[in-house]
């Protein structure tokens, strides 16, 4: 189908984008890569009056490393992030996860920030942000603020961003001796997963970020605590029943999903050895 009519504007600066967003309120929508928004418009699931294109803003670009923190601009495309040497070296989890996001033609346009702001419960990057303990940078009319990933994904397709805030970038703390793992089960390459896991072990903490398990990406706290305390992998698998919501959908029943989640946990943490 074709999208309903809308106006379009491509502001030159982030400040101008925020001013427009504030002035037009709920009738306006930001467009970054458009790889989630344009399907929704073409299917007429959404019909905003104005699209504000932030896709070319230099302020949202760039991947940098400083003070043991990796900063990823919200406007970097999936393809740019996936192939960037700093990401491959310091956040290989993200490069690996992005290989399972859609297809090359979609990764050429879709953005890192767009995926996080979209907060699809089946998306890979929100779970990675949780597992890596990322910090979101938002900017609105009142100025910049930071939001920990653990407080960012609030409900189905909803985040802690205010309606007039733009996600500008993401900080990822880099720590030595990090072990990581990623696995998802999808029926076809590039499809959204039936269930997926992004896991990170740092000195003293293990974080297990899950996607396609409910209304938002979530951290499995009990299973992670079991592993952090040196407990056996099977005990962590048992604890998963309390961590994951019982989520039925046409892709998988809750029982099947829990079973598959345990398969993934065994694969990922089993590969770390020692348990």
């Amino acid at each position: 189908m074709k999208a309903a009519a809308f106006d379009y504007i491509r502001p030159e600066t982030l400040g101008a984008a925020i001013t427009l967003l504030t002035r037009h309120g709920p009738d306006a929508k930001l467009i970054a890569g458009g790889q989630s928004l344009l399907p929704a418009l073409n299917l007429r699931l959404s019909a905003p009056g104005l699209l504000i294109d932030i896709g070319r803003l230099a302020a949202l670009r760039g991947i940098t490393l400083a003070d043991r923190t990796l900063h990823i601009g919200a406007g970097c495309t999936h393809a740019q992030v996936m192939t960037h040497p700093l990401i491959q070296r310091h956040a290989p989890l993200i490069a690996r996860a992005l290989a399972d996001v859609a297809h090359p033609a979609i990764r050429a346009r879709g953005t890192f920030g767009g995926s996080l702001a979209n907060a699809d419960p089946a998306a890979e990057l929100p779970a990675c942000a949780l597992a890596l303990d990322a910090v979101m940078h938002a900017q609105g009319p009142a100025g910049p603020r930071r939001i920990p990933a653990a407080e960012f994904f609030t409900a189905l397709f909803e985040t802690a961003l205010a309606p007039d805030e733009v996600l500008t970038g993401v900080d990822i703390p880099i720590q030595g001796d990090t072990q990581w793992g990623f696995a998802e089960l999808a029926r076809r390459t590039g499809d959204y997963a039936m269930v997926g896991l992004a896991a990170v072990a740092r000195p003293g903490t293990i974080r297990l970020g899950w996607f396609s398990v409910g209304q938002t990406a979530i951290l499995a706290h009990r299973a992670a605590a079991t592993l952090t305390e040196g407990g056996p992998l099977e005990a962590a698998c048992t604890a998963l029943a309390d961590d994951l919501p019982a989520h039925d959908d046409p892709q998988a029943s809750a029982a099947m999903r829990l079973h598959l989640a345990r398969v993934l946990l065994r694969r990922v943490v089993g590969a770390w050895g020692g348990r």
Partner: protein, 157 residues
């Protein structure tokens, strides 16, 4: 209505268009470049694949206004320049198309694979790269064969 200027298959184009017009409809309806096909119009099938500033994209998921200032190449462009002549020949030789509806998108995606293929690329890598392009009648075996044939031929000096 918005005015845009872009390069399509090497030709400078200026047009005034509604914002909601996507790039594939712009190419087809405004420029008469009907080699770019439309299947699903929500990003799933790959029939609308074109090159935008050198990277393959979904023509149905880019607004024409977003292509302002950019370089677009369609199947007509890469076909006329001879860039994909060997690949097209391999498709024909292996019967890798029946109705041909998916073929422009397949050829552009396959060419993208061939341009960036690592030295150890194999059939699995071809499958992975083409996984976002649907063919509803030929089946994938012959298409993968045609791409593999071209990969091997281009590797041979």
């Amino acid at each position: 209505m918005t005015s845009i200027t872009l390069t399509v298959n090497g030709e400078p184009i200026t047009a005034t268009i509604p914002a909601r017009l996507h790039l594939a409809d712009f190419l087809r309806d405004h420029l008469g470049l009907t080699g770019t096909h439309l299947g699903c119009e929500h990003g799933v099938c790959g029939a609308c694949t074109v090159r935008l500033d050198g990277a393959i994209v979904r023509g149905c998921l880019v607004l024409a206004v977003q292509a302002d200032g950019c370089t677009v190449e369609t199947i007509e462009g890469v076909s006329d320049s001879g860039e994909v002549a060997d690949l097209q020949h391999a498709f024909a030789a292996r019967n890798a198309l029946q109705c041909g509806y998916c073929t422009p998108g397949m050829v552009l995606t396959a060419q993208d694979f061939l341009l960036h293929a690592p030295a150890d690329a194999d059939r699995a890598a071809i499958r992975e790269h083409l996984s976002g392009n649907y063919c509803r009648c030929t089946g994938y075996e012959a298409i993968i064969d045609a791409v593999e044939t071209t990969l091997n031929a281009r590797r041979t000096p």
